[in-house]
């Protein structure tokens, strides 16, 4: 079947409206006005309320389009909501987004907003499913923001970076963010901004004080990093996210290399990781004594390419021994992510449950949507699933996947699967 019409996508599979609002809501005191139907607004709101720790509802407004608005325009609805925003909130920045239907009407949103003389920047964007999914929306929002808001020139500081292409709406990002921060701290690197998470206008004005932009999730951040390089000449680094110990060490050393850190500093990081590896080896050694070497016949990963490749590489090079690894990639990855040893993997474009479960001991890294398909197909619900993406409705995740603690978490899952298989 041509799978393009039917995809149980495990990415952040909401429309661009949600992606864009996710970016805007990450800016402190930003207000967002959705020019669209209440249904679209509510679906977006449910999603964001789950992913943001702070309540976002007070900062979100909606014109609640009715049918007649499609014919007569949305001016009066916009004015009603803009008046509310003006009266109730003092936003640091105001974003106005059209959903699909509203974007086809052709109202001059910017001119309507101008009548209210907001003292903050006002950014207008056509959004919604026509523009794409979550990632497209986030990218468009980021670009629109940096096009509209000039960043002051500040001399770059050597050990300072921006982490670009992240979002509180990414699966498990709250936990992964702490790991990223810890890794950077181990390397003596300071973060100016996490662009996409917990931003303020003041901190964003310091953007150019960073010597480097490091892209975590290229689905979000690659385009933005290229734009910032074009506009402000901030160099950027695109590399696999920090999964696994060796992956985290490589990631950190690449950043330090890009920042021209000295050899003794890099050596210190290597020693730090050597210590971590020694600890983990001791712990897994105890398990090896009882259960033998870890072996998983079939490993399957499904999701966006950065997470799949990142975890896949960590599994291949350091975490697991296996016979087959299937990668189900929903989008094309950028060239830098083209892995040298592609023969080690079976790559597929869309998830197909028929291709999985050829071995008795198979494991699956994906969202709950793919897992649900596998449960339906195999009529079994074994403990062989690790949720790495939204939607997540049959797993509880409290630990990161990136960094050092992430490595431990992945190892715990792998060893537990292996032990369970030995017993059955």
């Amino acid at each position: 079947m041509n799978n393009k019409y039917m995809s149980v996508h495990c990415e952040n599979n909401h429309c661009a409206l949600t992606g864009a609002t996710s970016f805007f809501c990450a800016i402190k005191d930003a207000a967002v006005l959705i020019n669209g139907s209440r249904f679209c607004f509510k679906q977006m709101l449910h999603y964001l309320e789950k992913s943001f720790a702070e309540p976002v509802r007070p900062r979100l407004f909606c014109t609640e389009l009715q049918e007649e608005s499609i014919i007569f325009g949305t001016e009066n609805l916009l004015e009603r909501e803009l008046k509310k925003i003006k009266d109730r909130r003092n936003p640091s920045v105001l974003f106005i987004q059209n959903n699909c239907a509203a974007s086809l009407i052709g109202d001059d949103i910017a001119a309507i907003a101008q009548r209210f003389n907001f003292s903050c920047p006002v950014i207008v964007l056509d959004s919604g499913g026509l523009e794409g999914g979550f990632y497209e929306g986030w990218r468009q929002a980021a670009r629109a923001f940096f096009q509209a808001v000039p960043i002051n020139k500040t001399p770059p500081r050597q050990r300072y970076i921006n982490v670009v292409g992240v979002s509180d709406s990414l699966f498990n990002f709250t936990n992964d963010k702490k790991e990223i921060a810890a890794l950077l701290q181990a390397g003596g690197i300071h973060t100016v901004n996490f662009v996409g998470s917990a931003m303020t206008l003041d901190s964003l004005q310091q953007l150019r004080s960073a010597a480097l932009n490091v892209v975590i999730c290229p689905e979000l951040g690659k385009e933005l990093a290229e734009f910032l390089y074009e506009k402000y000449r901030i160099p950027y680094l695109l590399t696999l996210p920090p999964y696994g110990l060796e992956g985290s060490e490589r990631w950190l050393l690449q950043i330090m290399e890009a920042l021209h850190c000295s050899d003794p500093e890099k050596q210190s990081v290597c020693e730090f990781f050597a210590e971590q590896k020694k600890e983990i080896k001791t712990e897994t050694g105890k398990l090896r004594k009882i259960f033998g070497d870890l072996w998983i016949s079939e490993i399957n990963l499904a999701g966006s390419y950065s997470a799949v490749y990142g975890i896949g590489e960590a599994l291949r090079t350091e975490l697991a021994n296996y016979e087959t690894m299937n990668l189900f990639l929903y989008d094309d990855g950028p060239d830098y992510l083209f892995l040298a040893n592609t023969k080690q993997y079976q790559r597929h474009r869309n998830f197909d449950p028929q291709m999985i479960g050829k071995h008795k001991d198979w494991i699956l890294f994906s969202s709950s949507a793919e897992h649900a398909q596998m449960v339906q197909q195999t009529k079994q619900d074994k403990n062989n699933f690790c949720c790495i993406a939204y939607p997540c409705f049959d797993s509880a995740v409290f630990q990161p996947y990136m960094g050092i603690n992430g490595c431990r978490n992945l190892l715990r899952f792998l060893w537990q699967c292996y032990i369970d298989n030995l017993r059955n």
Binding site: R38, F39, Q43, A101
Partner: protein
């Protein structure tokens, strides 16, 4: 009269609910890709209960309208998508829903569906709504239901001892469905089908063997379209639609037994036996839980007006039967207006409960604070009320009692950990 427009929600959700878990059907949404994802996950609880062997939801496909299609139209794309679905899935019929974009760009969805339908010889139902336009959720659901009834249901002799259930969105872990199944089984009455949502084409063709339609879940405005579908089906089959207040709580469950039993002409002895059995089950539950719940205090708290009218008579009855003392009701009125009803429509059922008004200061001291929605950092005494899917029948009653029991135990265990401070004398003894 409600001043709220009936045009709420998205028609594609309505279609999804009619198609439900029907085995022979596919849903094609003429929409951007993301709409399909949202509609598929909107009833996410369906997927949460996705256990092996359970029915699969009807598959959803999207034609993936993009920006350029808004200019050039997307009819060809829809046609390709329909052909692809027919060739790959071989459904016996297809629902085609449209998003709001289609309403603006003006694709002739009906013409495309008609063309493909004639080409491949399978019914393709083009729902005449576009997202929130042309009637929204309710109109979409009604149209989908009518299409099925017109296409597959025929009048018949209505012999046999079977009934149709209408209004069950999801059978899995559904208190009302379980209760009805148990009672009908005691009465030796078979369920012919759950329509719409679980019915194959063959089953729809055999609906005419039923003698009545039992309408379920009619307590909530969101289920209004089911009432209309049931009415339409009843007219087609010339059989009665049995509409009874839902069996929520003890008294209403007893009333349901009496009324439905009478309308289905259940034999007196059989009916009495089922009533006694159900009564005993309720009493057993009360006996088990009263020890922990009696004399506990409770407050009903709404941090904002509910989005829909919320009927909580069952809660007042539950409190009375278990000995819980309802102290009052606290409603915090914000500027956010209810979604599907007027302010009066949502406040009226709350006022009718007859509870005195109280303020937020009463909340910390109450043993239970009944509220709606789940707060991320709710205090231990908060209980999230199951108001969208209330506790029908015996099992619902028991599960709600269990919920309060667990809340009571949590408070009991954590309070027991607070030690009295040591006096100087105690410290000397310890040293």
């Amino acid at each position: 009269m409600s001043t709220k427009s009936n045009c709420y929600g998205c028609s594609m959700t309505g279609i999804r609910r009619v198609a439900g878990f029907s085995p022979d059907c596919a849903i094609v949404l003429h929409s951007p890709k993301a709409c399909g994802q949202i509609i598929r996950e909107k009833d996410g609880y369906v997927m949460r209960r996705y256990t092996p062997g359970e029915s699969r939801p009807a598959p959803i496909f999207t034609s993936n309208i993009s920006g350029k299609d808004a200019i050039f139209g997307a009819q060809n794309q829809l046609e390709e998508c329909l052909v692809s679905v027919i060739q790959s899935c071989s459904p016996k019929y297809i629902f085609v829903g449209s998003s709001c974009v289609v309403g603006v760009i003006g694709d002739d969805v009906a013409a495309v569906c008609d063309k493909v339908s004639r080409q491949y010889g399978i019914p393709i139902f083009a729902i005449p709504c576009c997202g929130f336009m042309n009637g929204g959720y309710e109109a979409g659901m009604m149209a989908a239901g009518r299409f099925l009834i017109d296409a597959f249901v025929t009048s018949g002799k209505n012999q046999g001892n079977e009934v149709i259930l209408c209004g069950i969105l999801d059978k899995t872990n559904n208190y009302e469905y379980e209760f009805i199944c148990e009672i009908l089984s005691m009465w030796n009455i078979k369920i012919n089908a759950v329509f719409p949502g679980y019915t194959s084409v063959r089953q729809m063709e055999e609906l005419n063997k039923s003698r009545a339609i039992l309408l379920c879940g009619s307590y909530t405005k969101i289920a209004t379209p089911y009432c209309k579908i049931a009415e339409y089906l009843g007219q087609k089959l010339h059989i009665p639609v049995i509409t009874t207040p839902d069996p929520i709580g003890y008294q209403k469950s007893m009333d349901w037994l009496a009324k439905v039993g009478k309308q289905l002409n259940v034999e007196t002895g059989t009916l009495a036996s089922s009533v006694n059995k159900t009564k005993k089950e309720f009493n057993d539950i009360l006996e088990s839980y009263r020890t922990f719940l009696a004399n506990k205090t409770a407050v009903l708290y709404f941090p904002a007006l509910p989005k829909i009218p919320v009927y909580l008579d069952w809660l007042i009855e539950f409190a009375r039967l278990t000995g819980i003392i309802m102290k009052g009701i606290c409603v915090h009125v914000t500027e956010e207006t209810p979604t599907y009803a007027t302010v009066e429509e949502v406040t009226s059922p709350l006022l009718q409960l007859g509870l005195p008004l109280c303020d937020k200061n009463a909340l910390p001291d109450a043993d239970f604070v009944f509220t709606i929605g789940r707060k991320k950092n709710a205090p231990h005494n908060y209980i999230s009320l199951p108001y969208i899917h209330p506790p029908f029948g015996v099992r619902g009653f028991r599960d709600f009692a269990e919920l309060l029991f667990r809340c009571e135990r949590k408070q009991y265990h954590t309070k027991a950990l607070q030690f009295a401070p040591l006096t100087p004398g105690d410290r000397r003894e310890l040293l």
